[in-house]
């Protein structure tokens, strides 16, 4: 009896498996879905993403990182926007600033409709500012806004103090939301109905799937800014190693690729590369000796061969660091700041001046070392596990000039906590956000944050940093920003080692480009919505 039953079960299982295999076999010919092949006719554009899920595309639903904002920006428009060159009109056709009253005036277009058909008015703009005061949106800081008023088709935004980054960091970042949908919403972060994604941008929300990490948007036929060049836009999740294969198979039209794939793809596809928005930097503990002396920090800077580091740690896919934070081709960079070209003899000179003596190596030791007051100079280099390779190269380079480094690898949270508590000598740190408005200088020099050098020892530097955000004239601001970089390079409160490259490949169907100073507050992703819109 049991034997028969077992038999039956076994037969069933084998039967089901055979059926499954058969089904799989059949699908090879017939089941190739037309939608995944991006044919010219369907005008579907598919973008590969290795993470997939970046949250629901509403201001409070998306995850607080660049790709989350980019998905949002395709649906929601802002007062103004940026393209590859700079600021361009969006919901507002013109804008100006009156310095005496500290007032920005934006003239709204009168042909803008929400995706649900309602007209977009100045009331929506005012509502957005009011709603965000109650429900902060982490991407935009509204503290400096005193009041928002309307005057016919114009919106007047009155500031407390002059604020040069306003246009990019607020006007070109803040998504305008429809009053008629959001006014009754108490908990915006929990509101993820399709209505929460009604915007005024070139694309309309159709679907988002958290588990599969996919998004599906349809073109907004009534987009005020011009005709949308595609009918459907999809984001799909693809393993980063498979993006090249997915491009070749025609399953996707664009995607971020790994540096190793550049050679393989560059002949057949358009490869876009970006560097300068992220950096890897060496933090100094300038609160204690010996690194409290700027000459000591300079001595280390001269001993570091950044070209060699890029070659060894990045296999060449990076740009050697600039000691003034900005990458050299950035329009804000200071051309006459200190360069710190690799020069070990300069290190010797500086250390000798500080009273250190180079002692010859004893038997069994490879390198000579520096001594002061009978004490050998020994520094600890704090890093996280993924940075070991960089740390090893630095150790090797510094050993050549007689500086003894001990590498200490810890979990990244521990590293951040120790940097914040000044419990380190040298530390490796990496962060992005360098390709945006110069206000970033304050964030990475003064702010009390583990990504920041937290350097306020130079009064002139602090004053200039305070002044830069209030300089409303761009030429004046540029002069200040360049002066800041010169002092920063001279003081070396931290030292940029290199800017890693990042790459995107696409099939040229849409003219993808990198936005000037990044999308909104500085997202270095070449998915600007204007790539998909035909400008009249």
């Amino acid at each position: 009896m049991t034997r028969q039953r077992n038999h039956l079960i076994a037969t069933w299982i084998i039967g089901i498996l055979c059926l499954a295999l058969l089904l799989v076999g059949c699908t090879n010919q017939a089941g190739q879905p037309q939608t995944s092949k991006t044919g010219e006719k369907s005008l579907t554009y598919t973008i590969a993403d290795s993470v997939g899920d970046w949250g629901f595309p509403s201001p409070w639903g998306h995850y607080q990182r660049g790709p989350g904002y980019v998905r949002l920006s395709l649906i929601f428009d802002t007062l103004i926007w940026k393209n590859a060159q700079g600021l361009i009109p969006a919901l507002a056709s013109e804008w100006d600033y009156e310095q005496s009253t500290k007032t920005y005036t934006f003239k709204l277009r009168d042909d803008v409709y929400w995706h649900d058909g309602q007209k977009l008015t100045v009331q929506d703009v005012v509502f957005t500012f009011e709603y965000l005061k109650e429900h902060p949106y982490p991407w935009v800081d509204l503290k400096n806004i005193k009041n928002v008023e309307t005057e016919g088709d114009r919106v007047k935004i009155i500031l407390n103090t002059d604020f040069a980054p306003f246009l990019t960091n607020v006007a070109a970042t803040l998504p305008i939301i429809p009053k008629h949908i959001w006014e009754g919403v108490q908990e915006p972060e929990k509101y993820t109905e399709p209505l929460a994604a009604v915007g005024s941008g070139p694309f309309m929300y159709t679907d988002y799937n958290k588990e599969h990490g996919t998004y599906f948007f349809k073109a907004n036929e009534n987009y005020y800014g011009g005709q949308v060049l595609i009918q459907e836009l999809k984001f799909v999740k693809v393993n980063p190693q498979m993006v090249a294969a997915a491009l070749t198979k025609g399953e996707v039209d664009a995607g971020s690729i790994q540096p190793e794939m550049v050679e393989q793809l560059k002949d057949k596809y358009t490869v876009l590369s970006e560097s300068g928005s992220a950096n890897v930097k060496l933090m100094f503990n300038h609160k204690k000796d010996p690194l409290a002396r700027k000459e000591f920090r300079q001595a280390i800077a001269y001993a570091l061969d950044r070209e060699d580091l890029v070659a060894k740690a990045q296999r060449g896919h990076g740009v050697p660091g600039s000691p003034w934070l900005y990458v050299a081709d950035n329009k804000w960079h200071s051309p006459d700041a200190q360069q710190y070209e690799y020069n070990p003899s300069k290190t010797q000179e500086l250390l000798t001046k500080l009273g250190y003596k180079l002692e010859a190596a004893q038997d069994g030791e490879e390198n000579s070392f520096w001594v002061k007051n009978g004490q050998q100079v020994k520094l600890e280099l704090l890093c996280e596990a993924s940075q070991i390779r960089i740390a090893e190269v630095l150790k090797e380079q510094l050993a050549k000039v007689g500086l003894n480094i001990e590498i200490k690898s810890v979990e990244s949270k521990t590293r951040d906590a120790r940097i914040l508590a000044w419990d380190f000598d040298l530390a490796l740190n990496s962060h992005g956000g360098l390709a945006s408005d110069p206000n970033l200088l304050n964030k990475f020099i003064l702010a009390d944050d583990f990504n920041s050098a937290r350097y306020s020892a130079n009064e002139q530097l602090v004053n200039l940093l305070r002044r830069q955000s209030r300089a409303m004239d761009e030429a004046e601001r540029k002069t200040i920003v360049q002066e800041i970089q010169k002092i920063y390079a001279e003081e070396v409160p931290a030292f940029t080692l290199y800017y890693p490259n990042s790459y995107w490949a696409h099939n040229g169907k849409m003219p993808l480009f990198y936005t000037n100073e990044g999308i909104a507050i500085g997202v270095p992703i070449p998915l600007n919505k204007m790539s998909f819109v035909e400008i009249e």
Binding site: G31, V238, M242, A245, K249, K413
Partner: protein, 322 residues
């Protein structure tokens, strides 16, 4: 008595895991609030919400009261809130669980069936050239890490030959329904399930083969042969069936190792299961989600072992006699 002891072991293990899961973030250096909620929380939460959460988790109270609060929320199915994903951990895990179950389940069925058949055959053909070939190839393949098999499969069968998709669990935004949808899901399942089952295969093969060898020299097999039964019947119905016993008893352990293997496979195939989620949680340092996933995996493995014990006890009379 024996059963009761076993049950006790399971409960003790479960409790140990819960305690460990509770203690780990609190033992981490720095602010336990940040360790539990992640840095994302520090960015997005207001000071009041933070105080509210601290009070709710009793983070300002002694450890044993915190543990009480932790157990209390655990029993209500509350695994915490992922601030990185802006969703309750339990719902995030519930979303990927079916896909993980599908992948691990089908891989287990595949590896058990294949491993059993190959084990029986290699036991039967002991010493022959074909046995050596089976053993050599399967053990060789199983020695490779699962993600490597996955990548090779993807490159060859998906990228080169274009027989299978490059990843995911289904074609996003296709108009498939019913049978075509099932086809699509199976097509996406095939490569990851195959890759995963290959890594699990050798264990089942060796186990079946070993007990097959013992069984083949048993008197009842000789009797069956003397009765003139066909070799196929002896092989599978008599010796083979009895060789299944150790395999079924090991099923619990197999679930554990298959789950561990699936973590890598899912990342390679961008398959929306627990492994892929764990990977993202690690990258985000999303501690609430990490903890939730660890707990779910640990409980699943304990449950699987418990069930396997039960099954072995049911189908093997000798275990009951002990």
């Amino acid at each position: 008595m024996k059963q009761r002891e076993k049950l006790f072991t399971y409960v003790a293990t479960l409790l140990f895991i819960i305690i460990l899961n509770f203690l780990l973030p609190r033992l981490m250096p720095g602010d336990p609030f940040l360790a539990i909620y992640g840095e994302e929380a520090a960015l997005t939460l207001s000071a009041e919400t933070k105080q509210e959460l601290i009070a709710q988790m009793s983070l300002d109270k002694p450890l044993w009261i915190q543990f009480g609060a932790y157990l209390h929320s655990l029993f209500r199915g509350d695994l915490g809130y992922s601030y990185a994903l802006n969703a309750p951990v339990s719902s995030v895990i519930a979303g990927v669980l079916p896909w993980s179950a599908l992948l691990v389940g089908s891989a287990l069925i595949l590896s058990t069936l294949l491993g059993f058949v190959l084990g029986v055959e290699s036991g039967w053909r002991k010493g022959s050239r074909s046995e050596k070939l089976i053993l050599f190839s399967i053990i060789g393949i199983s020695g490779l890490p699962s993600f490597l098999i996955g990548v090779i499969f993807l490159l060859f069968f998906a990228a080169q030959l274009d027989w299978f998709p490059l990843g995911g669990a289904l074609t996003p935004y296709s108009d498939f329904t019913g049978l075509t949808l099932l086809q699509d899901i199976l097509k996406h399942l095939f490569l990851p399930a195959m890759a995963l089952s290959l890594t699990q295969l050798s264990e089942i093969l060796l186990l079946t083969r070993a007990s097959m060898l013992t069984n083949l020299s048993s008197p009842y097999v000789h009797t069956a042969a003397a009765k003139g039964l066909k070799p196929l019947g002896i092989r599978y119905r008599h010796a083979g069936r009895n060789s299944l016993l150790p395999v079924s008893a090991r099923l619990g352990v197999s679930v554990g190792s298959a789950l561990a293997g699936s973590l890598f496979i899912e990342i390679v195939f961008a398959y929306p299961g627990m492994g892929d989620l764990l990977h993202q949680a690690l990258l985000n340092r999303d501690y609430p989600l990490l903890q939730g996933i660890f707990l779910t995996i640990a409980v699943t493995i304990i449950l699987a072992n418990f069930l396997a014990d039960k099954i072995a006890w049911r189908i093997d009379p000798r275990m009951r006699e002990e």
